[in-house]
Symmetry: C2
Subunit: 217 residues, 2 copies
DNA sequence: CGGTCATTTGAGAAGCCTCAATATTAGTGG
DNA sequence: CCACTAATATTGAGGCTTCTCAAATGACCG
């Protein structure tokens, strides 16, 4: 336990946690405009958040893997500003936000943790906003997936792309066809091996090199 | 007073506020990697935040007008993840973050306010990340400037672009030449009137129409 | 086996960038 | 007050990257 919470505090925390799911692929966890009352940590599966613009195009805002928190951007307006959908079987830990905020007043460590979580997400959103080439963006995308899986104990060099090519395209602001072509070229150049949605990083060093501009270190 | 703080609470708040500046145009308020200890609200002037990527290109992350808060994205790592520079004469209110976080534990309203601020910034960053046309992005940029100035009591349809065309380009992920051409075309089409850095919105309705895809309502 | 959907592949077009030249502005010093 | 310089902004021409449209392929499911 590295949280620094004692037993009674953990009991308090436990009181506001609600395990929900599993949700099947395609299930919406919340929709744009829904009243906000809880944030949630992904326990298993992948969640995609997105909005649909006035022209009907889907703008993917992010993919959330196990251990990552969704709903933080809903605090400011008390409504979810985007849709969230399960890309595979998803289970969640649901935290009542009013309750956790109240508890955070008594537990400095928890308040700090929440501030940190929120602050992190600002930076993550800024990442993709940058002006980078197609290759840089794809490399950064694959590398962050790799690192996030690794952080959760999964393999860093071999994992499954739980999202479709179209989802990746809408996330990286490219056409689906471009995703196909870049992945193929990366494979031809020996950077990766991709078969269907199974992905292997065969030359992580060069991927990192490409992604450096985006990820900065 | 709409804050909901009483007199003694305001005194507490006042204790942690430090008015600093003015800083001259070009002055760096902080640099990437600097130790984080305070957030700051802009009192006057404009602040630009940016990072420089490995290829030496400047990636502008945002412009901050009076009333807006800088430094929130530094909380998570305890270091500023970007540079901040004054675009004109800038004055700031500086808040020691450890102190304000401590105070927030006693003032639920303040804690909520901070959560809101942080949450808002997540959404702002996501805005620009979307996949939009040049015209949509430019219209959204001009319209948000207009709204932000209006929120602070300045004119909504006439204001000064305190940043260079190059800054706008680096923010909107376009070439400076493209900025020039779009502004000229907008003017030719009667949407705006631009002379030097003085900008007038002559057809706010059509600007809003263009920006709708980005701003969503 | 047939149908549906995701993905791949190709060809052509469009949009934006790059490069280069010119124009304009602001600042400086005579 | 004016000339000179440097920086910013504008404009034009051509090229490149990515998109769009269309078709073919392959995977999965009943």
């Amino acid at each position: 336990m590295e949280n620094g919470y004692d037993k009674s505090q953990l009991r308090d925390l436990h009181m506001l946690v609600e395990h929900i799911g599993p949700f099947r692929e395609g299930t919406h966890l919340f929709r744009e405009g829904d009243a906000f009352n809880a944030i949630a940590a992904v326990r298993g599966g992948t969640v995609k958040t997105y909005v649909t613009d006035t022209a009907g195009r889907e703008q993917v805002q992010g993919f959330f893997l196990p251990g990552e928190v969704i709903g933080l951007n809903a605090i400011s307006s008390n409504r979810y500003p985007c849709n969230a959908v399960a890309l595979d079987a998803v289970t969640l830990c649901r935290f009542s936000f009013p309750n956790i905020a109240a508890l955070a007043r008594r537990l400095p460590g928890l308040q700090e943790h929440l501030f940190r979580l929120l602050s992190q997400d600002i930076g993550k959103a800024a990442l993709l906003a940058g002006n980078y080439t197609t290759d840089e963006r794809m490399a950064a995308f694959l590398l962050t997936l790799s690192r996030r899986y690794a952080a959760r104990g999964f393999s860093a060099h071999r994992f499954c792309l739980t999202m479709s090519r179209t989802d990746i395209a809408n996330y990286l602001r490219l056409a689906p066809e471009t995703i196909s072509r870049v992945l193929r070229r990366f494979q031809d150049e020996g950077l990766i091996k991709v078969e269907r949605r199974e992905l292997t990083l065969t030359d992580a060093a060069r991927i990192e090199e490409l992604a450096r501009a985006v990820l900065r270190g």
